[in-house]
Amino acid sequence: MKIALFATCIVDAMYPSVARATVQILERLGHEVVFPAGQACCGQMHTNSGYFDAARKVAENHVHAFEAVEYDVAVAPSGSCVASVRHQHRMLAERAGDTDLAERADAVGATTYELTQLLVDVLGVTNAAEQLGSYFPHTITYHPSCHGMRLLRLGDRQLDLLKTVGGIDVVELPDADQCCGFGGTFSMKNSQVSTAMLEDKAASIRSTGASLCSGGDASCLMHIGGGLSRAGDAAGTLHLAEILASTIDSPAPAPAATDTTTGATR
């Protein structure tokens, strides 16, 4: 299968190791990965901040970029960006009276999947250790990001896949379904409320004793990781793509040494 990678802006610029891990996983399954060079961002930040004109331009770029390349399905290591592509692009186009863009956006959205959605629903991956050779001998916990959970209805796909990684110990996160408080520009405009939510999420993570918290959205993980780091916590965050890509021969960094920049330098 020819799979177009939608890296997402935050992963492209801040967490390239997550995109590389995504490529590794898909290639390990024998698929061809292409990277539409014109891509930049889904426009979610603009949309959710009320800047619809700007958001439409960003979304239009996304649609153009993916129309320019031939592929069977597109994938992003982010539930929230996929939700934006699937649910917001049409709205942005319709508001501008651009029905042509609305239909093209729908077409791109219909073949765009969140990583575990693609792995489980399309590629039939149910056991990461057996099918991907995933190995990560550490104790982790898992935060299901809101948009994956409520907009994409990912259910337990992410958690179930993580549990099948070789050597892993996944401990349940109390109040896992509670938002971490990121919410894009919400964390700036209503920084104090966001911080109160973040503190509770950090406390939940701490209570598990896990050395890191994984999830499927780099933005939420940056938020949670930023809070843990500021609080001087030993625990960090790591995107699930990196855990799924980790093998005995090519391990992801051990949790204690987990540093959000490691991926880029190794």
Partner: protein
């Protein structure tokens, strides 16, 4: 459309008035409320209790989603048919001996109610908890006209005696714990047992004793209504304590104040809403008491029956094609009970009678986004979506929040000459993120950020109000040495 800024925001004729406004920006109010540790602890306990109850009783029904679908469709149909339904309701209510009054806004509604009370010769009224009368500020108005209004719902009584403001639409005193309630009763109830403890049953008994005489002697009652049935002219009130039944049954005169959006097409609709409402609100299979009445019944209940149908901004909300489903709200409060923002700030931070996620959309929809600080309300959400999942009539609150943010940005741009910090941030991001090429160029600067992060590989402080707000409590990791797209290219892959 005028482009001249006259110093006053343009408020439409149809805008709602009364207690529908944030009087200061939400972030400011929220920060203050966050500082109240007792409040946060009370709210956490209460919201978690009610969430668990709701989940349990909703889980008992395997047709919950079908009920939600029916509820949402019924409300959408009712809103689309509103003129016909209101006419039908008016005709049937009148035929059964009731009198219908119409009020364009809060002021007019207050005046009508005052006149009706005056005509009875009474200078006091008993009240059933009602959001509509909170919204129009009826109690304050009656007081200014020399009419005493006695709230009879326990929580409203706590709020009234505590000279406080409601902070939740179902449990207005949710911000108070039992000890605080006891202290209010000891201070404000003349006949109360001085040895009163903070045991809830004892507190409820104190309220019973306090209100009993009032109920038995009141001549006029004022209520809201949970629903009105167009095809029969029937009204319904859902409650728990029996204070509603007292008010709706014993006095000679009953004045009901109701928003025009509460009308349902047919009696059959009750079978849907009376399953959705109690389970979503108090987390009970059914609330202890529901009263259903149709005009005057000879020999049973009030002899004089009035209803005041209020607009007060509802038509403003109805005119917004992206926001009008907010009027489908049945005031269950499930959205605020599951909201992580409400859980931490409480209801007072929202200013309006309607707090929480529904309030963050309903208030600006009713008043217009430009009114006072209501433009700050749609941002009071991380867009986590818990409210949408909990809503029994499937109001897509997150989408309407986003829509209203767009309205706010547009309104701000009309009023302002210089771009705000957010405008600049968004413009920069738009340029960077509208093209892979430009983003690639910008990413060439990543090593600079890496340098700035220093040996700790963390950025601990960013300049500016917005970015600085982020780094007030969160580190940012040092950027990578190269972006993914740069790596991809250097690998020779594309």
């Amino acid at each position: 459309m005028s482009t001249t800024f006259m110093g006053m925001p343009a408020v439409r004729d149809t805008a709602g008035h009364g207690n529908l406004h944030a009087s200061e920006p939400f972030p400011q109010a929220a920060t203050r409320e966050l500082g109240n540790a007792q409040l946060r602890s009370n709210l956490r306990h209460a919201t978690h209790t009610i969430r668990d109850k709701r989940l349990k009783v909703v889980g008992e029904l395997d047709d919950w989603e079908a009920l939600r679908d029916a509820g949402a469709a019924t409300k959408n149909a009712a809103m689309a048919n509103l003129p016909a339904l209101l006419e039908e309701f008016e005709k049937n209510f009148t035929a059964r001996g009731g009198v219908v009054h119409w009020a364009r806004d809060a002021e007019e509604a207050n005046r009508i109610v005052t006149d009706l009370v005056r005509q009875t010769g009474s200078d006091e009224v008993v009240k059933v908890k009602s959001m509509a009368t909170q919204e129009i500020g009826l109690n304050e108005h009656l007081e200014s006209e020399g009419i005493a209004a006695f709230e009879t719902d326990l929580a409203e009584l706590i709020v009234q005696l505590g000279e406080d403001k409601p902070s939740h639409i179902l449990v207005p005193a949710i911000h108070k714990n039992r000890t605080e309630v006891k202290d209010i009763f000891l201070r404000q109830m003349p006949q109360v047992d001085p040895d009163l403890t903070d045991n809830p049953p004892e507190l409820a008994m104190a309220a019973r004793a306090h209100l009993r005489k009032k109920f038995l002697s009141a001549q006029v009652a004022i209520s809201g209504a949970n629903f009105a049935l167009a095809d029969t002219g029937t009204l319904g009130v859902v409650e728990s304590e029996g204070n509603g039944r007292m008010c709706l049954t014993l006095p000679d005169t009953l004045i009901t104040v109701m928003g025009i959006e509460k009308v349902l097409p047919t009696a059959q609709d009750l079978e849907v809403f009376m399953q959705l409402l109690p389970r979503s609100s108090t987390g009970e299979r059914m609330n202890p008491y529901t009263s259903v009445w149709t005009g005057v019944t000879e020999g049973d209940g009030p002899k004089n029956m009035h209803i005041v149908l209020i607009d007060n901004g509802r038509t403003n909300a109805l005119a917004d094609q992206y926001g009008r489903t907010a009027l489908n709200c049945i005031r269950c409060s499930a959205c605020m009970n599951v909201c992580p923002v409400y859980e931490r700030t409480g209801g007072h931070a929202y200013g309006s009678t309607y707090p929480g996620p529904i309030g963050a959309i309903l208030s600006p929809l009713m008043t217009g986004i430009e009114a006072e600080d209501n433009g700050s309300l749609p941002y009071a959400s991380s867009l986590c979506g818990a409210c949408y999942d909990a809503c029994p009539v499937k109001i897509n609150i997150p989408d309407i929040l986003v829509h209203l943010r767009g309205e706010d940005v547009a309104a701000q741009h009309q009023q302002r000459k210089l771009p705000s910090e957010m405008d600049l941030l968004m413009k920069g991001a738009e340029i960077a993120l509208s093209s892979g090429k430009v983003l690639n160029l910008m990413e060439k600067a990543l090593p600079v950020g890496r340098l700035a992060a220093g040996r700790q590989k963390k950025i601990k402080k960013l300049p500016g109000k917005l970015a600085g707000a982020w780094t007030s409590s969160r580190d940012i990791p040092a950027p990578p040495a190269q972006s993914f797209r740069d790596w991809w290219k250097k690998e020779g892959r594309g």
